[in-house]
Amino acid sequence: MKISRVFQYLISITILVVWFIPLLGGLMGSIRPMSEIVTGWWNLSSATFTTHNFQYTWSRIKINFLNTFAIAIPSTILPILIASLASYAFAKMRFFGRDFIFFSFVACLVIPGQIVLVPLLRLLTNLGIRGTFPSIILVHTGFALPFAIFYLRNFFAKIPLDILDSARMDGASEFLIYWKILLPISKPALASLATLQFLWVWNDLLFALTFLSPETFPITVGILNLQSRYAPRWNFLCAGAVISVIPPLIVFLLLQKHFVKGIMMGAIKQ
């Protein structure tokens, strides 16, 4: 029993260290000058703290950082709004073709982004919005819908009908019921979805690289532009990495419970 106990701790601590070292390396690289990184970031014999890496990197990727907010916030709100509207119909109304339409959405859960790249680029060019924020917001919205509808429809289905019926008796319109009753009582589900979707959009590279232009590129493309062809400047790359993980990390830490719940519902994304 004792030997197995030692063994358990040995494994736990090994895993902890292996998982922690890359994070620590990134953090140390971002706050130490390159002249010290070349002797090893773990070497603390002459450690200097500097903000120069952040200053330089921020001046390079500030625009991308702000762009990412301009993309990620609407790309989180819009799909949740229109998915919740549709899910209300799927969960609480009877109409011809309901189940067929619902399952058609859900079946598209696994369509890989790659398949739409070429046709969508052409469509967005024809619409005259290629390279703009609305273009990628619409694409992210489209791809968020299957999971959002699947998730919200199942959540709404569990809400007892009598709550909605009493409002109907009072003469409230369906939209009013949706807006004033359904959405407020669905806050936990909406928070789960919003967390998943925000992280997903914040971390996206493929769509951004394909549909956006240098003025609208988000942070993921911004950091990759810090890579140089020759010797990598780890101090700047690490600072860029740290800057780019701050907003998603805050969201993640604040809403971790909701995030886990979202994953549990069968998260297909990552």
Binding site: W19, F102, V116, V118, S244
Partner: protein
């Protein structure tokens, strides 16, 4: 309800008219509710997906009007089968698939089991394994490239300090190690997801079953093999399906770490597709790759989708 209609319309209506208005309203309301979702979905997902199938039958540069594209039948697909770089990317993707399914799932399972035991560092372990889930694959690619750096990387430094200097090398610069180095980085980011799903599965096992088996004298490994793992089949199937699909779609982390190099040793299908369609301006050829990728993913995901729709139908 009737009174409301009356008020809205502002004039008296025959009882029959009322009934009619309400009925039509009731009938079209659901369609109004699903309309925005359907419109965006049709325009930005369904329509382009169908288009991709058509474009894959053409020779087209993706820039000039599609009318100038030349219909070539299935020749893009024929060319693919004999394209050595495509075969190479597909082969690498198979390695990805196997390793990227085994490593995070086994590690995630191991850690989930570890968390069931009474260990003091449990919460710290759980948090730190799950933390990378919030990080983008691009950032993971960068901090792991730093780990692998031949001169300033921590990995080679550790090897040197352990007197294993002969193992030290430029991990991403050599074709025999680059692919595995990237898969390790991808494992680092994905294990947390597997751990959380499997951990929830473990929590769902009724303790009475375990206690009964323990009372019958079963040891830990017997419990694991005959009770825990069989009861964990459903979450295991989910994480395996997730990892397989993710490995087929892998693009970001390879793009961030090596762009497919050195000598195409880390090339994967999604990256091959991107390169053909955009820098090389072979939109038709790239679409053929995308269609193949789509078909494989669909075949693998079909049971998964059927399962979640079944679960939905229970309501």
């Amino acid at each position: 309800m009737e009174q409301k209609v009356l008020r809205q319309s502002g004039k008296a209506l025959s009882p029959y008219h009322f009934f009619h208005v309400i009925k039509i309203r009731k009938k079209i309301t659901p369609y109004i509710f699903i309309f925005p979702a359907a419109l965006i979905f049709m325009t930005f997902v369904i329509f382009p997906t169908v288009q991709a199938f058509r474009i894959s039958l053409f020779q087209w540069n993706g820039i000039s009007p599609f009318q100038t594209a030349q219909y070539v039948g299935l020749s893009n697909y024929q060319e693919l089968i004999s394209d050595r770089l495509f075969i190479n990317a597909a082969k690498n993707n198979v390695i990805w698939l196997v390793m990227f399914t085994l490593l995070p799932v086994l590690l995630g399972l191991g850690i989930a089991l570890l968390l069931e035991l009474d260990i003091k560092v449990k919460n710290l372990l759980k948090s730190i394994i799950f933390l990378p889930t919030a990080i983008s694959l691009v950032v993971a690619g960068i901090i792991w490239s730093f780990v692998y750096d031949p001169d300033f990387g921590v990995l080679n430094a550790i090897l040197k300090s352990m007197e294993l200097e002969f193992l030290a090398r430029g991990w991403l610069g050599r074709s025999e190690t680059a692919l595995f180095a990237i898969i390790i980085a991808a494992t680092w980011i994905s294990t947390g997801m597997c751990m959380v799903i499997l951990s929830a599965g473990l929590k769902g096992i009724p303790p009475e079953i375990m206690e009964a088996a323990r009372a019958d004298g079963a040891n830990y490994w017997q419990l694991l093999r005959h009770i825990t793992l069989p009861l964990l089949t459903r979450p295991l199937v989910i994480v395996v399906a997730l990892m397989i699909i993710n490995s087929l779609k892998s693009f970001d982390i390879v793009y961030a770490m090596t762009r497919g190099g050195p000598f195409y040793s880390t090339d994967v299908i999604a990256l091959f597709m991107y390169r053909q369609a955009f820098p090389f301006l072979r939109a038709g050829y790239g679409s053929a790759v995308a269609v193949i990728l789509f078909t494989i993913i669909l075949l693998i995901a079909l049971p998964y989708i059927r399962r979640i729709t079944e679960r939905t139908a229970e309501y």
